[in-house]
Amino acid sequence: VGHSFDAAFAAEFAPLHRYLARRVGTSAADELAAETFTVAFRRWDRLDPERPVRPWLYGIAANALRHHWRKERRMLRAYARTGVDPVFAEEHPEPASRELAAALAELRPDEREILLLHAWAELTDAEIAAALGIPAGTVKSRLSRTREKLRNRLDPVGQEGV
């Protein structure tokens, strides 16, 4: 609703940067956040005043992230293999986290995108749909499938609830 670019930057920059840093590390997050807000600034005049800004920004960020999918997967695999998360360059030896890193690396990029927009960016199904330009029903079904895949991967005997 008539957001100004500055207001949107103020409200969304920090959480968006943190989300990106969780995906691909702080250095790449700087680059991706800069790209996201540069594109947003250039297109600002063309944004419908009523259109929620948050999913629009995460949609731009998702496009920018596509060029980092392989890097993200490499980082997750490296973490799973070594116990050293490249995002921190520190050791995180918890077996469950390493298993999760391996499971995330095995997901298809679009599955990982939807899952992490939901879990880390805390976007609703409707916001994810708006961000990625796909129907909300598709988001819901893919999210459900991906969570089940993750659960089965991490807990093959089905002892845990999600």
Binding site: V1, G2, H3, S4, D6, A7, F9, A10, A11, E12, F13, A14, P15, H17, R18, A21, R22, T26, D30, A33, A34, F37, T38, F41, R43, W44, D45, R46, L47, P49, E50, R51, P52, R54, W56, G59, I60, D85, V87, F88, S97, L100, L104, L115, A119, T124, A126, A129, A130, G133, I134, A136, R147, L150, R151, L154, D155, E160, G161, V162
Partner: protein, 251 residues
């Protein structure tokens, strides 16, 4: 710990960026903005981005999350961005629809050949002051499927407002209802409600605070319509009345 909890905790130690990073990236993103304006806005933006970081963290804390701040300090709910930020900072030139990359057209008839829907300009709204064709946000190239027509009006009764039209694409009435349901004061400015319009149509009424906008958005026969004007002069009743005029013309 179940899968969802594990996922939430995964890399949750990643800190929010500091103010210097915010300043640097803001400057990068807004390169080319006139310097005087940039300085004034940067000051405002940096004040709120720091507070915004606090608010984001406070929401984590309030919901039981465990995200630590890089300096290890504690957090309080500093402000509610939806109430505190001034959405009127980026003033809209209502006589100039579209952006710098939009293309002016002289009439609805001229626009009709470049869009994937039948554009509507109700005679009862009077003569438009300007028309612009624009790609939908997120698309670099103007294609018929993406093209958006913005018609600017300025009449004695309603003041300036725009009628925005494009092929509805993935946007449905349910999408709009979802926005109405999910937009709270932290995520969206103003009040978002679904309202009954003429002809059995349901529209999203957005009543923004002073300095922002009033809008009615609906989907009719595969076309997305948005009637939007400055909240200071364009009331919800006026927006609804204009929307109903468009609905009648769109038949």
């Amino acid at each position: 710990m179940n899968t969802d909890e594990l996922l939430t905790e995964f890399r949750s130690e990643v800190a929010l960026p500091d103010a210097a990073t915010a300043q640097r990236i803001y400057a990068l993103a807004t390169r080319g903005r006139p310097r005087v304006v940039a300085r004034r806005r940067l000051a405002v933006a940096l004040v709120v981005v720091v507070a915004g970081a606090g608010a984001a963290l406070s929401s984590v804390i309030l919901t039981g999350g465990t995200t630590p701040r890089s300096d290890g300090g504690s957090h309080e709910a500093l402000f509610d961005p939806g109430k505190t930020l001034n959405p009127g900072l980026g003033a809209t030139d209502w006589s100039h629809p579209g952006g710098n990359l939009s293309r002016s057209v002289s009439s609805v008839a001229e626009a009709a050949s470049d869009v994937a829907f039948q554009p509507v300009a109700p005679p009862s709204l009077g003569a438009p002051t300007a028309l612009a064709l624009d790609p939908e946000s997120g698309n670099e190239q103007l294609t018929r499927a993406d093209a958006q027509l913005t018609i600017a009006y300025a009449d004695v009764a309603n003041g300036p407002f725009w009628l925005v039209e494009r092929a509805s694409g993935a946007t449905t009435t349910d999408t709009l209802a979802g926005y109405a349901q999910e937009c709270d004061s932290r995520r969206c400015y103003g009040t978002w409600t679904m309202e009954s319009l003429d002809g059995g149509n349901q529209g999203l009424l957005i009543e923004g605070p002073t300095g922002s906008t009033t809008a009615v958005v609906w989907v009719q026969n595969g076309v997305y319509f948005n009637v939007v004007g400055p909240a200071d002069s364009f009331s919800a009743d006026q927006a609804t009345s204009v929307a109903n005029a468009v609905i009648a013309a769109a038949g």
